[in-house]
Symmetry: C2
Subunit: 299 residues, 2 copies
Amino acid sequence: MAGKLKIGKLVVIGVGLIGASFALALKRARAVRHVVGVGRTRRNLSAARRLKVIDEIQSDAGRAVRDADLVLLATPVGQMAAVMAAIAPHLPPHAVVTDGGSTKRDVLACARRFFPDARFRRFVPAHPISGTEKSGAAAGFPELYRDRCVILTPQPETDADALRLVKRAWTACGARVVTLDAEEHDGIFAAVSHLPHVVAFALVNSLARRRDAGRVLGFSGGGLQDTVRIAGSSPEMWADICVANRDVLLGALDDYEDALEEARAAIEQGDAEALKQLFESARTAREKWLLKKSAEPRG
Amino acid sequence: MAGKLKIGKLVVIGVGLIGASFALALKRARAVRHVVGVGRTRRNLSAARRLKVIDEIQSDAGRAVRDADLVLLATPVGQMAAVMAAIAPHLPPHAVVTDGGSTKRDVLACARRFFPDARFRRFVPAHPISGTEKSGAAAGFPELYRDRCVILTPQPETDADALRLVKRAWTACGARVVTLDAEEHDGIFAAVSHLPHVVAFALVNSLARRRDAGRVLGFSGGGLQDTVRIAGSSPEMWADICVANRDVLLGALDDYEDALEEARAAIEQGDAEALKQLFESARTAREKWLLKKSAEPRG
C-alpha cells in the first residue's frame, strides 16, 4: 500500500445509487482525477454531471473505456453481458475492471465469456453490501459505503495488482473488504438479501391488490412500513438478481415457505402454544443475531 | 368535554409496553391520581413501581378493581377471558373498562360472555395503533401514543359517558381517536399488521434454521434488519392475536401466498420481465401509500 491511491480516469457504467456513491466517495477521498459516466438515460447522466458525481458524459461505453484506469460496472446484472461485450475490444491492457453486482457466479460467467484471458485476469468481481431502497444518480452519497462490507470474489487467475487496486479503491470509500468464494457469496445473499426482497415485494402486492387497499393501508403503522421498506428498491435490478441467482434463491424460498406453512398450520389449528414457540425461536434468533452484529460489525 | 380530565384510580392489568405507556402518558398529562398495576410477574411489577409507572402493586385483579374508576386490560388477548371473569364480580358500577387488544371481535365476545349487561355497557374496546418490538414495563414511555391512532369499536349499547371517558383518556395520551366497526377493524389489521408479523417471524426462522446461520447472518445488511424488526415482538402476544383473528388472517395469508407463488413462478421460469413487472407494481403501490400517509397521517 505504498503512497496514496490516485486513479487517473474512472469510468462508471451505470450511474445509479451504487455507481454514483462510488464516484462521490473516491472524489471526496481525492483518489480520482476524472470520472466519466456511461448510461442509458441522458436525464440521469445530466443529473449526475450537475451534481458533480461525474465530470463527463459518454454515450458510448467502448469509447469511454479507451483510456480508462478503472472501470466500475454498476448496471443491473442482467446487462453485464452486453456491457462486457461492448467494452472488451476497447479496454487498454492496464485497465482494471470491477463491478458492483449483487450476484457473483453469473457476473463471473459473463466475464469469462466476453473477456480474453489476459483481460479476465484484470477483472475483480465485487459486491458492496450497502444500498438504500432508492435508485438513480441523485440517490448517491459519498458515505454510502462507510463502515460497510464489500465482498470481493477474486479467481485463481486474478492479477494481484488488479486485486490490490480494487481493494484500495473500496477502502478509500470507507468500506471493509472481505474475500469470499463466489458460490458461497451467492448462497449467503440469496438467503439474507434476495429472499427478503422477494418477500417484501410479494407482501406489498398482496395488500395492494385488495379492493379496500387504500383504506386498509391508511391504518398501517411503522411495523408494515419497515417490513416492506426494501420493496421500494429498483424492480429491474432485483428482477435481474433473482433470475441470475435463481437456483439458490429457490432453495431459500423453499425453506421460507416451509417455515411459513408451519406457522400457518398452527394458526389453522388454533394452537397458540405451538405458534408462540415458533415466534419465540424467531425472536431469540433475531436477538442473538443483532447482538453478534453489534459486537463485530461487518456491514 | 367540560373541565380537565381527572381519573381518580386507574388499574392497569398487564403492565407491559402498552399498559405502562398508557399510565405514563396519563401521569404526564396529570390526568390520573393513582395507578395500580396488576400482573403475572412480580419482577416486572416491581420494575414498574421503581420506574414510577405505577404507584401500587396488586396481585389480585378482583381486589384491585374494587374502587377503580378506569380499568385498562393490557394483557395478551388470550388472557382477556380469565381477566374479565376475575374482575366482573368486583367492579363498582361506575367503573369504565377498556382494553388495548390488537383484535376486537374476540375481546368483545369475551366481554359479552363475562360481563352482565349493565357492565358490558361500560366496556369500551380500544386498540392503540402503536408499539415497538420491545416488551415489558421498562419498555414503556409516555410518548408512545403521541400522534398515533387509537381505534375504538363501541357497540350500540355502549354508554355515551363511558365512551367519552375513554376517548378523553386516549386524547390526553396525545392520540387521535377513530371509531370503527369491530369486524372491519379485524380485517384491516389482519392485513396490515398480523400478516406482516407472521411473515417476519417465518423469515427469521427459515434463516435461523440453516446450518450456516451464524455465518450467513453475519453478512446481512440493513434491508434484512428492517424487514424482520417486528420479529422482535412479544411471541405470546402475537400468538394470541393470530389465533384470535385466525379466520381473516388465513384469508390474508392466502392472498400473500398467491403473490409469493406468482413471484416464484417467474423466478423458476427465469422470466426477468414478468418479475420486474411484479416488483414494479409493488414499488408503485408502496410509493402511493407512503405519499398518502405523509399527506394525511393517522398513525
